[in-house]
């Protein structure tokens, strides 16, 4: 049932009752000094979905994600999770930083970095090693557990960070352009691994990217922000079957139609 209606620009589709809301941003604004970064943001993250946020640079997409993660407070409105306002970072919402090189502890081995999250969760010491090694196996790093982050390639370092966030058993992953600094092949591999991990753990993912195709490929929904100030310009449902495939999904006519539809939001016109 792939029709143009599913990606129409009209009001958002009626909400299916089974979608429980994991995180809600209501009428949120963010100003730093006299500069307005985000304005009147209304957004709901549904449990189990992959929600991608795109927008031109300066649209405040990273700020929005950091607000959702509790790293910055909204100047107006609120970010709510399970009836409570998000005021500080929480282990339940794991944040994956773009600059993996700075987010890993260089003096700890790969396994030590994963164990850090287990220490935070107060996992008994005796169990940490086995859990960390299982997670590293899942992200394909079992053979470099004793290496230091600086010995690894960028893609491998980002995998370490993902394994660390998985170790804290989060309900949600908040990912800030996590694959932005990686080469195209590595990026595609990691996209597929992320989808597999999220599906297996029924994890909610909020994924910020400036790469439109990446957003469509990964997302159940794509939120397009406009810039100056950042506002929600469009929310689009992605009606592409899962599991997705780097070749066939990207050649699907619905994929291409979405790409056409959303492209304007990333160009100068999107900035208004």
């Amino acid at each position: 049932m792939a029709t143009l209606a599913t990606m129409s620009l009209g009001p958002p589709p009626a909400r299916v009752p089974s979608h429980s809301i994991q995180l809600a941003v209501t009428n949120a604004g963010l100003s730093i000094g006299s500069k307005c970064i985000l304005q009147e943001i209304d957004l709901e993250v549904r449990a189990g979905e992959v929600l991608c946020i795109i927008g031109p640079s300066g649209s405040g997409k990273t700020s929005l994600l950091r607000m959702m993660g509790g790293f910055i407070r909204a100047s107006e409105g609120a970010v709510m999770a399970q009836g409570r306002q998000v005021v500080a970072p929480s282990r339940r919402f794991a944040f994956v930083f773009q600059d993996y090189g700075r987010a890993l502890l260089p003096w700890r081995t790969v396994r030590g970095n994963v164990e850090l999250a287990l220490e935070a969760c107060e996992t008994p010491r005796a169990e940490r090693k086995a859990i960390a090694e299982r997670l590293l196996y899942q992200v394909g790093l079992a053979n470099v557990a004793d290496a230091y982050p600086r010995q690894l390639s960028g893609g491998m370092q980002q995998r370490v960070q993902i394994a660390r966030t998985l170790a804290q058993s989060p309900d949600m992953l908040l990912m800030d352009e996590p694959f932005g600094a990686l080469d195209a092949m590595t990026r595609e591999t990691l996209q597929d691994e992320l989808l597999k991990l999220a599906a297996a753990r029924e994890m909610t993912v909020v994924f910020v990217t400036h790469d439109l195709e990446e957003a469509i490929y990964l997302g159940d929904r794509v939120v397009a922000l406009s810039a100056n100030p950042g506002r929600v310009a469009e929310v689009v449902d992605v009606d592409l079957p899962r599991p997705r495939d780097q070749l066939t999904t990207r050649e699907d006519s619905r994929f291409l139609a979405l790409r056409h539809r959303l492209r304007g939001f990333l160009t100068e016109e999107g900035r208004r």
Binding site: F97, A103, Y148, Q151
Partner: protein, 251 residues
């Protein structure tokens, strides 16, 4: 390649020995390499040199430990709290230019001759490099790591132990090395100036006895001791910070 470093000293020694054979060479005040070597050997064999080295070394290590004990917490404090930094800046800027030697009279008044007086003067001198490096280290902890610590909801003491301290340790070690160099210099200085112990005192004694061969022998020995101390610390550094030197480039 490392052997190349031994060529110039060998050439200098050879030239020096040749010159000493020339008529008019001031053997009475300058001595010859052969005499210096035999003076070094005899002082080593009779134990006087090793005892003096032990005394100097003890004062150096005690002084440096004191400097680390006070300098690291103080540096962390002013490095992480801008208000504490502003409060401290006046005192620091006035005390820091005071030469360590100028502290000797005060230290003598309070503690008299001996190794505790010497250690205090050494500590005063080594405190500054250690403190300043600790301050810089506390300031330069990556904000991303601070966010990772917050995201994992670590408590303040855990954040200090798991993030700030290990992140700062790499830089702190540079401070320790600088401090060690300063400490050794100041310990010998105090001994040459006033304190009747250690390598410095041994040298002034040799000078008073008009023994240029011994003076030079002790000078060479001080150089060797300093070089060895630094080599030990450098080795510890490589061991401790494997994560920093393991990447292909090796820095």
């Amino acid at each position: 390649m490392r052997a190349l470093g031994f060529v110039p000293p060998a050439l200098i020694l050879f030239a020096w020995q040749l010159c000493s054979l020339l008529p008019g060479f001031p053997v009475q005040t300058f001595s010859t390499p052969a005499d210096v070597m035999s003076a070094l050997l005899s002082s080593l064999l009779d134990g006087s040199l090793l005892q003096a080295t032990g005394e100097t070394f003890q004062a150096t290590v005690c002084g440096l430990s004191l400097a680390i004990l006070f300098g690291v917490p103080f540096g962390f404090l002013v490095g992480s709290l801008p208000r504490a930094d502003r409060l401290a800046v006046g005192v620091v800027e006035v005390l820091r230019p005071v030469p360590a030697v100028a502290v000797i009279p005060l230290a003598l008044l309070m503690l008299g001759f001996g190794s505790s007086m010497e250690s205090v003067v050494v500590a005063f001198a080594a405190f500054w490099p250690v403190m300043i490096v600790a301050r810089t280290a506390a300031r330069s902890v990556d904000e991303r790591l601070v966010e990772v610590a917050k995201a994992l909801e670590f408590s303040a003491p855990e954040r200090f132990l798991k993030f700030l301290l290990p992140a700062a340790l790499r830089q702190l070690f540079v401070g320790f090395r600088l401090g060690l160099g300063v400490a050794l210099v100041v310990a010998v200085t105090v001994e040459v100036a006033v304190n009747p112990q250690g390598l410095g005192y041994l040298m002034t004694g040799a000078q008073a006895a008009l023994r240029p061969d011994q003076v030079l022998a002790f000078l060479v020995w001080v150089g060797l001791v300093g070089w060895m101390a630094n080599a030990v610390v450098a080795l510890a550094e490589v061991r401790l910070f494997r994560w920093d030197v393991v990447d292909g480039a090796g820095r």
